[in-house]
C-alpha cells in the first residue's frame, strides 16, 4: 500500500515536472508555430537566475517564483526582437536559428560562470509514507504545476489579452484589420512563454544539477511532449505530459531510469505514428 502511494506520488510528480517544462514551449509552438530549440537553455537560464539570486541572499521562493520568470521573460523579449521576429512562417529556419541561439547561450553561460555552479539545497524537508521517505518539495512542484495550469488557462480563456492572442493565432490578417498589432501580440506571447519556462527552470533548480548544458536533457523531452500533445496548448500539454510522465515513471520503476526514458521515447514515436496531429488534434478539438 505504501509502495503504491509512493509510486503514485512519483508518477504525479513526473507528470507535473514534465508539464511545467513543456508549458512554455507549448505556448510558443501552439500560438506562433515557432519551435524554440533554445527552450532547454531558457530552463537553464531560469535555474541560474534562481540559484544566483538565492545565493545572493534573496528568499528562495522569491528567487524561484519571481526572479527566474522575470529574468527569462526579459531575455525572451530581447530574443524575439533580435531574432524570432524575422522568422515567422519559416518553421525550419526558426528551428535552426533557435538551435544556434541555444549554442550561443550555452557558450555565454560557460564563459561567464564556468562549467559548474553551486546549487541550492532543496527546501521544505521531507515526510514519510510507511517505510518510504519523500520530500515535501514534490508536493510543492505539483502545486506549482496546478497553479500554472489554472493561471495560463485563465489568461488565455478569460482575459482580453488571451482573446486577442487566440484571435491572432487563428487569423493574423483579420486581427490586424480589427486594429490589433500582431507583432506586439507575438512579442508578448513569446515573452509569456519564456517567463513560464523560466519559472519551470527556477522551481526545478533545487532538484537538478546546475550546469550550462543542463538544458539538453530537457529540450528533447519537452519537444516530443509538445508535438505529441498537438496544437491545443492546455489540453494537449496536460494529456501528453500526463501520459508520458506516467509511462516514464512506471517504466523507470519496473526496469531502470534509463530504460524508463527509452520507454517514454518509444511510446512517443508510436503515439505520433498513430495520431500525427497529436492527442489534442484527435480528442480535444477546439479547446484551449
Amino acid at each position: 500500500m505504501d509502495l503504491v502511494a509512493i509510486l503514485g506520488l512519483n508518477v504525479v510528480n513526473g507528470a507535473a515536472s514534465l508539464f511545467l517544462l513543456c508549458l512554455g514551449l507549448a505556448i510558443i509552438f501552439g500560438m506562433m508555430r515557432i519551435i524554440n530549440l533554445a527552450h532547454g537553455e531558457f530552463v537553464m537560464l531560469g535555474a541560474y537566475a534562481a540559484v544566483i539570486a538565492a545565493n545572493a541572499g534573496v528568499n528562495i521562493f522569491v528567487a524561484m517564483l519571481i526572479v527566474a520568470p522575470l529574468f527569462v521573460g526579459l531575455v525572451g523579449i530581447v530574443v524575439e526582437r533580435c531574432l524570432i521576429q524575422f522568422l515567422y512562417g519559416r518553421l525550419v529556419d526558426s528551428m535552426l536559428a533557435t538551435w544556434g541561439l541555444s549554442l550561443l547561450i550555452i557558450g555565454l553561460v560557460t564563459t561567464i560562470f564556468g562549467n559548474t555552479m553551486q546549487g541550492v539545497p532543496t527546501p521544505l524537508g521531507g515526510f514519510a509514507i510507511g517505510a518510504y521517505r519523500t520530500s515535501y518539495y514534490t508536493l510543492f512542484l505539483l502545486a506549482v504545476a496546478i497553479a500554472m495550469l489554472a493561471l495560463v488557462y485563465g489568461v488565455l480563456r478569460y482575459t482580453r489579452f488571451g482573446l486577442i492572442a487566440r484571435a491572432v493565432m487563428q487569423n493574423p490578417e483579420m486581427a490586424a484589420v480589427l486594429g490589433v498589432n500582431p507583432a506586439r501580440v507575438y512579442m508578448a506571447t513569446f515573452a509569456l512563454g519564456a517567463a513560464v519556462t523560466g519559472l519551470a527552470g527556477g522551481v526545478l533548480a533545487p532538484v537538478s544539477g546546475i550546469t550550462p548544458v543542463m538544458g539538453g536533457a530537457y529540450v528533447a523531452k519537452a519537444f516530443i511532449t509538445v508535438v505529441g500533445g498537438g496544437a491545443a496548448i492546455i489540453s494537449g500539454t496536460v494529456s501528453a505530459s500526463g501520459l508520458f510522465g506516467f509511462v516514464n515513471q512506471l517504466g523507470a520503476y519496473f526496469t531502470t531510469p534509463v530504460y524508463g526514458e527509452v520507454i517514454l521515447f518509444v511510446s512517443a514515436i508510436i503515439l505520433i505514428r498513430l495520431l500525427p496531429q497529436g492527442i489534442s488534434g484527435r480528442f480535444f478539438k477546439g479547446t484551449v
Binding site: W99, G100, L101, L103, T111, A220, I224, T256, F265, R273
Partner: protein, 353 residues
C-alpha cells in the same frame, strides 16, 4: 551558365579534388593529415544528410543514428572477424536495414515535416540511452564488448581487403577516406542524373503532383532515406578507422546539430555545400579548441544565427549566384542574349535554390 559549362566545371572540380587527395600526404604533416582524414569521414556524413534533406526533402534530425550504427557495426564485426572487409560491408548494410525499417514506419504512415524531425531525433536519443547503458559482461556480441558509456577502444582499423596482416598506414587511410568521399560524391551526382534522382527531386518539389504522374512518393522517399542511411553508416566505419574507437557520444545531440549546421552554412540543395561546410566548421572548431580563448559553442551558435538571418541559402549557392551574375554581365558585354538556352542541367535542384 550553360549545361556544358556546368558539367565541365564539375569535372574540373572533381579532378582538382583528386589531385588534392593525392598530394595531401606530401604537402602537410602527419597530424594535419589525420585531422583531414577525420574531416573527410565527417564530410561523408554531411553528404548523406545533404542528399536526403536537399534532394529528398527529408529533414532528418537524427542522421547520427545511422552514422553511429555504422560505427558500432564496423567495430563489432572487425573485432569478431579480425578483418575489416566484411566489417565495412556490415557497416553499410546494418544502418541501411535500420533506415529501411524506420523509413517504412515513417513514410508509409505519411508522417512528414516537424513530426519526422521529432521521430528521428527521438530514435537517436533512444540509441544513445541504450548504448550508454550497455556496460558490463552481459552485453557483448561474439567477442566484442559493447562497453556502455566507455565505448569500445582498440577497434582494428582498415586493412588491405581480405588480408588482416597488412594494416593501412595513416597515409593510406587518408587515400581511402578522401577517395571514398570523392567516389560517393560522383555516385550521388550520377544518381541525381538518373531517372530515380529526377523523380526524387520531383517528389521534393511537389508530392501530390508526382503521385498524380504515377510515381509513389513513399517508395521514392524510402529509397532516398535508405541510401542516405547506408552512406552515413559507411561514414561511421571511416570514423572508427580514424580513431580506432567508438563510444555512445556518437549518438549525441550535439553531433546531430553540427551536421545541420554544416549543411546550412555550405548550402542546402547542393552536394558540394555540405562538404565545404563540414570542412570549414570542423577546422574552425579544432582551431578554437587549440586556442582556448573562445568557447566553441559561442562561436558556432553565432555563426549559425548569422547564416540563418543574413545568408539563408548558404555559401555555395550564394557564390554560384554571384558567379552567374558576373557571367551574365560578361556575356551581355559581348552582345549575346543572356540565358539563351533553358538551364535545366540534371542534378541541380530545379526551382528551389
Amino acid at each position: 551558365m550553360s549545361a556544358s559549362v556546368k558539367l565541365s566545371l564539375q569535372v574540373v572540380a572533381i579532378l582538382v579534388a583528386c589531385v588534392a587527395v593525392a598530394v595531401m600526404p606530401v604537402a602537410v604533416d602527419l597530424f594535419q593529415l589525420m585531422q583531414f582524414t577525420l574531416f573527410a569521414s565527417m564530410a561523408v556524413l554531411a553528404l548523406s544528410l545533404g542528399f536526403i534533406w536537399g534532394f529528398g526533402g527529408i529533414l532528418c534530425f537524427g542522421q547520427t543514428a545511422f552514422f553511429g550504427l555504422g560505427a558500432y557495426a564496423y567495430a563489432v564485426a572487425a573485432i569478431n572477424f579480425g578483418d575489416s572487409t566484411p566489417a565495412i560491408l556490415l557497416a553499410i548494410i546494418v544502418p541501411a536495414l535500420f533506415a529501411l525499417a524506420l523509413g517504412y514506419f515513417v513514410f508509409y504512415g505519411r508522417i512528414s515535416d516537424v513530426y519526422l524531425g521529432v521521430i528521428t531525433l527521438t530514435v537517436t536519443l533512444i540509441l544513445f540511452n541504450v548504448f550508454n547503458s550497455m556496460a558490463g559482461d552481459a552485453y557483448k556480441i561474439g567477442t566484442a564488448r559493447l562497453g556502455g558509456f566507455n565505448g569500445m577502444p582498440a577497434v582494428p582499423t582498415f586493412n588491405m581487403p581480405f588480408d588482416p596482416s597488412s594494416v593501412l598506414f595513416p597515409e593510406q587511410s587518408w587515400y581511402v577516406t578522401g577517395g571514398a568521399l570523392i567516389a560517393i560524391y560522383i555516385g550521388l551526382r550520377l544518381i541525381l542524373r538518373s531517372p530515380f534522382g529526377r523523380v526524387a527531386i520531383a517528389v521534393r518539389e511537389n508530392e501530390t503532383r508526382a503521385s498524380l504522374l504515377g510515381y509513389d512518393p513513399r517508395a521514392i522517399k524510402l529509397g532516398v532515406f535508405v541510401l542516405g542511411g547506408a552512406i552515413a553508416g559507411f561514414g561511421g566505419a571511416l570514423y572508427v578507422n580514424w580513431g580506432a574507437f567508438v563510444g555512445p557520444t556518437i549518438f549525441s545531440l550535439s553531433l546531430s546539430a553540427e551536421i545541420i549546421i554544416w549543411i546550412c552554412i555550405g548550402g542546402l540543395g547542393t552536394l558540394i555545400g555540405p562538404i565545404v561546410g563540414c570542412f570549414i566548421i570542423e577546422y574552425l572548431i579544432s582551431q578554437i579548441g587549440s586556442q582556448q580563448s573562445f568557447n566553441s559553442n559561442l562561436v558556432l551558435g553565432a555563426i549559425l544565427i548569422v547564416f540563418v538571418l543574413l545568408l539563408p541559402k548558404g555559401l555555395v549557392p550564394t557564390i554560384r549566384l554571384l558567379l552567374e551574375g558576373a557571367g551574365r554581365l560578361a556575356t551581355k558585354g559581348r552582345g549575346q542574349a543572356p540565358n539563351a538556352a533553358p538551364d535545366l542541367s540534371a542534378g541541380q535542384p530545379v526551382g528551389a535554390e
